[in-house]
Amino acid sequence: MDNELNVDVRKRHPGGPEIAAALRLPLGAHAVTVLFGPSGAGKTTVLRLIAGLDMPDTGSIRCGNEVWFDAARGTRLTPQNRRVGYLSQDYAIFPHLTVRGNVAYGARGGAVQDLLARFDLAELAERHPRQLSGGQLQRVALARALAAQPRLLLLDEPLSALDAPTRLRMRADLRQLLDGVQMPAIVVTHDRTEALALADSVAVMIDGRLRQAGAVESVFDCPADADVAAALGVETICPARLVSMNAGLVTVEIAGVRLEAVATAGASADVFACIRAESVTIERNPSGNPTSARNRLPARIVSVIPEGPLARVTLDCGFRLTAIVTRQSEEEMRLREGEQVTAVVKATSIRIVPRG
């Protein structure tokens, strides 16, 4: 394809795990791709390899018709010749230059004043970086990167240097800014809510490997395996045995408890059942009313842990199942440790992934 970033590289840092990443990113779509994974998965390394700040051991990186890196042909384009806008975690604003000096530093063309205005920096133009807040520094970094007219933006944990309230505010702002710049971007994060807020598509990286990539909903709703599910923060992941398959539904057994789920392709006898805490409903008394939910499990409450406006309820229904309910529901239903309730899970909310 002409208009895509095509990365297929391997890199081993001395003493570290091998990073292997194969990634295709359409450049015309102006989409935000989130590179998601736990700390230490190698996400930053992949970003640095694309930017040209580190060189892979083998493989190739192509951008459109240009070859940025090719181990076989000995091609190694310097960062200067790749024209990517790279934002490191702490923004790396030049401390000896004003806001204007920073934005103008690598500017091509005369768009500095426009960018200052667009990023709400016009009034701060003559300030020095030490007089700016974290959120303002981030805007300077973004404006500075855009002034150099890059083809691609790379953002490494763009919100991690901010304090918690600013981070919440900037999460929405950043998505708007990225929408406004009309440029494909790769954003590295280990935070699930950040990924959901920023991404159009997501690539999940675990232990140096790219494990699953796709549209954000499809990856978060249908993790390819138990590791990806765990990385994405799916609360309940239980080994299960396939009992029967019938009309697009499967029955699996977890520790003697039978559950119905929607069948997925390639399911073998040994599987994992992945259940998001949001999909688990708790009922106090069996109502006897007909319900569409296929799975109703008698359960004992193991613990109730408040999390802001929500409460995380751990249930024992033969296996451990986590549910998230609002604090209000928790109060009204008087959910207490040791009490018997019914856990309700729809068949469509149970994701079956192959084991091993």
Binding site: L53, P79, Q80, V84, S88, A92, Y105, R108, A145, A148
Partner: protein
């Protein structure tokens, strides 16, 4: 007091400092950022003047620039003159002798520049050379000034190397420290006293300026008992 010798010393120090600035900045850049494994050997060579007796260094320089050496013959062919016992020869010796006093502060200044700033500059399309002058040098100004002041002061006070390479020719190679030695040899203690005092004063001022520049924030301890 020997004003001629003082003037010569100041001239020598100034030229030495300027030459060290010109060759010390690229040398320090290479020492800081080169990926070569053997660069520690170059670091050791640059630091040699710190530990070698000035007479040893002076002796080797004298051999290296003597009229029968390749360097000496080349210099004679180009200029018709000789390096030993000339101001130019003295300048060469001073530059070598003060090299670590410039290169080491430069290197530590460059190494303290956050690597992320340098990488940010590269990603903005700015070449390595331009990054050096637009990011690394501006952020290393205190270290560069320190290196220049130390080179100047060190050259002003040098004695052994000057004596070995330059001898004692009034107006050409007789620096202020040699004139003090001469005065003492001639039991002319009054003149030696005046010149020494002047050198002491200059040296103190130069070093005070260095440490003053280095200390960006003045830490003041609270008085006891409060």
């Amino acid at each position: 007091m020997e004003w001629q010798a003082l003037w010569l010393s100041l001239r020598l120090s100034l030229w030495t400092t300027l030459i060290l600035l010109a060759i010390g900045l690229p040398a320090a850049h290479w020492l800081t950022f080169s990926p070569r494994r053997w660069k520690f050997l170059v670091e050791a060579v640059v630091a040699l003047p710190l530990v070698l007796p000035p007479t040893v260094l002076g002796f080797y320089i004298l051999l290296a620039i003597g009229p029968h050496s390749p360097a000496g013959r080349l210099y004679a062919a180009l200029t018709g003159g000789m390096l030993p016992f000339s101001f130019q020869g003295l300048l060469l010796a001073s530059v070598l002798y003060s090299l670590p006093f410039a290169v080491q502060p430069f290197t530590s200044g460059f190494a303290a520049v956050d690597r992320k700033l340098i990488e940010a500059s590269w990603c903005l399309g700015v070449s390595s050379a331009a990054t050096f002058f637009r990011v690394i040098v501006p952020l290393s100004i205190p270290s560069i000034v320190t290196g220049m002041i130390l080179s100047f002061a060190h050259t002003l006070g040098e004695f052994g190397v000057v004596l070995m390479v330059g001898g004692n020719l009034a107006g050409i190679t007789r620096t202020v420290s040699i004139s003090i030695y001469d005065d003492v040899q001639a039991l002319n203690y009054g003149a030696a006293m005046h010149t020494s005092l002047l050198l002491l004063g200059i040296s103190f001022l130069v070093l005070a300026a260095t440490y003053g520049l280095r200390r960006r924030v003045w830490a003041v301890w609270p008085p006891y008992g409060q």
